[in-house]
Point group: D2
Chain length 424, copies 4
Amino acid sequence: MSTFGQHFRVTTYGESHGRSVGCIVDNCPPGLELTEDDIQPQMTRRRPGQSALTTPRDEKDRVEIQSGTEFGITLGSPIALRVMNQDQRPHDYGGGGKNIDGFPRPSHADWTYLEKYGVKSSSGGGRSSARETIGRVAAGAIAEKYLRVAHGVEIVAFTASVGAEHLFPATKTHPTQSTNPAFLELIDKVTREQVDGFLPVRCPDATVCKNMEDLIADYRDRQDSIGGIVTCVIRNCPSGLGEPCFDKLEATLAHAMLSIPATKGFEIGSGFGGCEVPGSQHNDAFIKAPAISPAELNGAPQAASGRSRPRLTTKTNNSGGIQGGITNGAHIYFNVAFKPPATIGQAQQTTGYDETQGVLEAKGRHDPCVTPRAVPIVEAMAALVLMDALLVQSARQSARSLLPTLERTIPVSEQNNNLTNGHT
Amino acid sequence: MSTFGQHFRVTTYGESHGRSVGCIVDNCPPGLELTEDDIQPQMTRRRPGQSALTTPRDEKDRVEIQSGTEFGITLGSPIALRVMNQDQRPHDYGGGGKNIDGFPRPSHADWTYLEKYGVKSSSGGGRSSARETIGRVAAGAIAEKYLRVAHGVEIVAFTASVGAEHLFPATKTHPTQSTNPAFLELIDKVTREQVDGFLPVRCPDATVCKNMEDLIADYRDRQDSIGGIVTCVIRNCPSGLGEPCFDKLEATLAHAMLSIPATKGFEIGSGFGGCEVPGSQHNDAFIKAPAISPAELNGAPQAASGRSRPRLTTKTNNSGGIQGGITNGAHIYFNVAFKPPATIGQAQQTTGYDETQGVLEAKGRHDPCVTPRAVPIVEAMAALVLMDALLVQSARQSARSLLPTLERTIPVSEQNNNLTNGHT
Amino acid sequence: MSTFGQHFRVTTYGESHGRSVGCIVDNCPPGLELTEDDIQPQMTRRRPGQSALTTPRDEKDRVEIQSGTEFGITLGSPIALRVMNQDQRPHDYGGGGKNIDGFPRPSHADWTYLEKYGVKSSSGGGRSSARETIGRVAAGAIAEKYLRVAHGVEIVAFTASVGAEHLFPATKTHPTQSTNPAFLELIDKVTREQVDGFLPVRCPDATVCKNMEDLIADYRDRQDSIGGIVTCVIRNCPSGLGEPCFDKLEATLAHAMLSIPATKGFEIGSGFGGCEVPGSQHNDAFIKAPAISPAELNGAPQAASGRSRPRLTTKTNNSGGIQGGITNGAHIYFNVAFKPPATIGQAQQTTGYDETQGVLEAKGRHDPCVTPRAVPIVEAMAALVLMDALLVQSARQSARSLLPTLERTIPVSEQNNNLTNGHT
Amino acid sequence: MSTFGQHFRVTTYGESHGRSVGCIVDNCPPGLELTEDDIQPQMTRRRPGQSALTTPRDEKDRVEIQSGTEFGITLGSPIALRVMNQDQRPHDYGGGGKNIDGFPRPSHADWTYLEKYGVKSSSGGGRSSARETIGRVAAGAIAEKYLRVAHGVEIVAFTASVGAEHLFPATKTHPTQSTNPAFLELIDKVTREQVDGFLPVRCPDATVCKNMEDLIADYRDRQDSIGGIVTCVIRNCPSGLGEPCFDKLEATLAHAMLSIPATKGFEIGSGFGGCEVPGSQHNDAFIKAPAISPAELNGAPQAASGRSRPRLTTKTNNSGGIQGGITNGAHIYFNVAFKPPATIGQAQQTTGYDETQGVLEAKGRHDPCVTPRAVPIVEAMAALVLMDALLVQSARQSARSLLPTLERTIPVSEQNNNLTNGHT
């Protein structure tokens, strides 16, 4: 379906050649300051080769709030967001009907959309176009704003590999990045500003970034394409998020990430490489949590209350911040694999809708690697997952706060992941 | 939440030391022959070291149908399934309350459950116990039966790696298994009987299986544990399944798999390795689909109608049977990473609920590797995902079948993924 | 939440003074001819005192399709609909904050919105404004078009009472309209054209309509208001719709109707009056169903197949077309109670946000009775309920059609409520 | 479907002749004291002619908790509840298949179940049996316990009419009970103990109750049946509950009530009669809320905090405690219409599955009026609706409590409907 989330619900719409694309965000907390300026930066970062931080404001893909705010404050009602399409005319390439004389593009969605719906958008990929992600990114920006203001949450993604060029390649010692100190150091501090300092590739290491850029250029010149991996880290996430058994936080993150076009894989914490690490090394021993400064929480209310973090944390973090499907307060990090873009300039031998073989040649310029552009999309989907999990856990904690404390229960007020604020 | 699926909805319940564990399956198609005998085999395969195919019937974990069938036929009403627990007494280890003097087990869910709920099951992991998967496997067996009878679907999972021992290790030539002919040949034919011929490891290759068995024994002897990867293939899946944009089939598969305890990663088709394959090689060109014999469809009604498969298929299958989030009729295959089990015999330095450091030593025998047991769980979750996607696509196709055919639409009756049968 | 329906899902948005109001319709069957012309008539009927059938086209509340169609055909992707607001400036009446000096309007939502959200729209009722129903009516028009084309469904609502003036008052003989031959005769034939022939009241009886008109005028002149009842009939509804136990069709209809602003009651079939009828008279005996002409089904495909209706129907219809929560093919009819509008011209003694008593006087013209305008809204919500129920039953029936017929099961092809078409 | 509620989710199962009936309650707040003793009384009240308060404990319909609690405390995990069936053998009356020679019972669900599912339970009504309500009542008892402990909520239902015998008949002066002082006085105080003092009819007025009893006896003697109305009042409900636009509290209440077998109508506050009251009288003016004693809140934590009620309340209560779909803190009250039971002893002329006419005669004793037994079912469904609405509002309020207070927003701590407790 076109709705993501059970509690913070986002419904997106739009094909590449309709009037507009956008979304409705339902159940956003009321009383949040919100204008288009909070949303536009990620919209701009999503456009090819752009950084909202470093480049002049792009005048395309301008988001417009239709509802749900007044005087720049959210009302708690549905927030509709809209971005106009530049080219609103459908191009008649023969449609989806009987007299189709063209080719379904290999590894695109042309064929499967027709199998599924019996009719398909004739131009630009329709709903499977990358333009579909506009609604996600816009909605994600709202979720992110709340998470930052209320909890100091930071979400930063970056390009971790292009083809065989990896920022943290697996080694015999470190079959997984989760045991690699250099990786752990990077994700502890990396910011979007730093990532956007390495445009257009968005890999926060000068040397590796240059190699990736050359690699992409090479594929571009050969009218070919190449895949890559995006890594994302979430810092300052409250503990207690994730809804076992079926909606464990890693499960909903995986769902979110694999719903992004062109993705082929997801791994959290130690991931696939972690299968090769013995349990005795993989287990994350508990340690007493260090004190946290209000600055680290970006001034979120939790900082003021001094109840900002769980009392315990883990010494290592092979778990990737999630244990038993529930966040433990440590950094959450995960990788997402993006396949090489299916649209390439090279001629391709394939078969048409009419079952006859032939050669398909694409026209125009094509993006040889999607990972740089995918960065804000991954961040957006991560924010949507957290926000949804936060609301359901907030409900549980609030409900629990009104029950008498029993011998076997811990009162909410003595916990450290307090998601409500009864003090101000 | 404890419900999986929107249309074929499974709700599970049960801790390891309550009266019973089980589930309710809602919205199962009526008119399906179903008794406990259809469900028990996968329940038995789920038990450690068991094969329902080759070993005498285990008398434990007997499933009982409570409702939803009469005279061995499903009524369309909720099917409740129940398995009694052997040990129904909670053990008082200090509970979840204030006077906790024990240790949260490293990389277990003890700590996060307490953070989340403010109270936790005192014994055996409660809801995060592996016993929770009983409800999934039972429900999956029902989904599987329908898929097999109506569509000839075959779902087979097996152990693909244990530690660094891989059945199909990545190579320079084949950074992903999706380009490896040996892999493709295996998944085209492998059966559960073959997989269970390699008990207890369930890796369908004598040499590799032996190596894995030795590796596991080695970890067991050192009171340590090791992870592994399970590969799953789905054959004869109808085309057109999967609900973009957010419920692409790979997204719901990823959700399902990452909801299984101890999982850390998911990849479909070419997966992470596919990031290193150029687009020109990665793209799956279309070819005319070969004829399919009724036997290949296991006698499903689609076979009889001669409309059993899409007219086109792909020459290669780096997509893993899904394009644009929608099945194309080719084999679906994916990998799931399982971490090393957190319970190990070795003493572990860690910190207690009371924030003081100490040493935790587990007692008893522990499973040093979960992949063999995970095989039927992965199959069950795959079946639940397909069944859910099938129902929503069936609704769409039925609704569409009553509309007049337009110039741009293809009538359902001329399509090859027909999910209804108007003829018998 | 702002989403209605599980399968045919409508999400609405918009306050009275934002940029626009509208909705996203998700999971509409693909291949349906659809343009703004299919939607606009009900939008126009919804405006005060309008009939799309009889009056010149009103240029206000023009609906624009944003997505989900191409060349006038639905693609199966989300259909976004938008209607611009005329007055997009929020009026600063003191906002929802601390320095509120005004009055929450009695029996309006001002007070409860502020209690709920802690902030409220300062003008025109915000989300509780009647403008919110625009999205519903637009979405309902799409559902209705499908239902008409595919099944010949007819949905007609009309004003049944204003104040104590009833079209079919309860009598000793007929404590419920369900036993009144005049009522049954009316609902068997009444059309929207007829209803709109009695503008502005929309009560299809000249005498009663005139009395109602006078009554409304009287309340208007006294700066007062009055409530009324809307009756709705659904003809040609397929049997088998409704999802026990919790989503019985009368339950989802009741949910839909009570979600319309200003509603206070819902009754189906014999309703409240039916409590006074003995079971021996209330029970609807079965009779063999009469043949039905294709014309009666408005040329729907079911008509062509000759399998258009269940073999049995009921002699009386106190059930209102639903038994055990499932449609039986007979006419569905129900009443919806609308309270007197809360906005009146008279001065009202009440208490302000600041807890001091005072007098509130409304300005401007106010609608003294909402039932005439409610007619298309009731029709729209009825269509959304049916469409949602139809999709889930279609999925069930399709799934069942592929199972072998057993001794105790009836094959889909021998049933009369066949929701798929395997023949054209 | 068989699931009710989005946040506090109840999934029921069970036919009258399967092994057991029951439910799974998902997302119950953790840390609540709960044993079978909290649930059994309502189970017992639900049995014909029973009062858990006044009669010796009935040994039938014993509920057993399967999961979700430990040492009598809820864990936050799914709570499975089970009640064994006495008669577990399906009776072969010819099944649902081709060779049916019997009659579908008039106004029962036999015919529609077969139309819908193509197969039906052969005995006792299967899923449409009154036994289905056991799961609802059990789940409702859990919701009620939480609501009482945390908020002092009281839910009391009673029989308000049998046939034409009404406790508060409509009069010229009071076309609706909402303006009747006697009615308002009763619902302000009535308790379950009082209601059960008038067994078996459960109408809390000696004279009217006697008339009703005689009326029922009369119908019983004539082997006929009669309908009636149940009124339900909810006291101490927090303000702010209900989720516009589609899940207004009256809409979800209506959904809940119309999902109960044999219901035909629902009205809230002034209801259908309110259509005849002028707006000037119908509008509920605001007044300053009187102080409330802790005793009135049954010692709920809100009482202790002194923030137990909204600052304003309404002078009259034609709204029935809900305005704009959101609770305002006043008493919520509503009526539910129950039709005369379809099973009667009299012979009925009807038509069989084989389309031939005949006479159907029921055997055995039948319940001539369901309202007395419906009382605890109505209470249970009301509790489920409130609990679900409470959780989503709690999430909103918690999320909002962490945002800085703006000029236009009211901080949670200054509101009176505070659903969290940051102080104890």
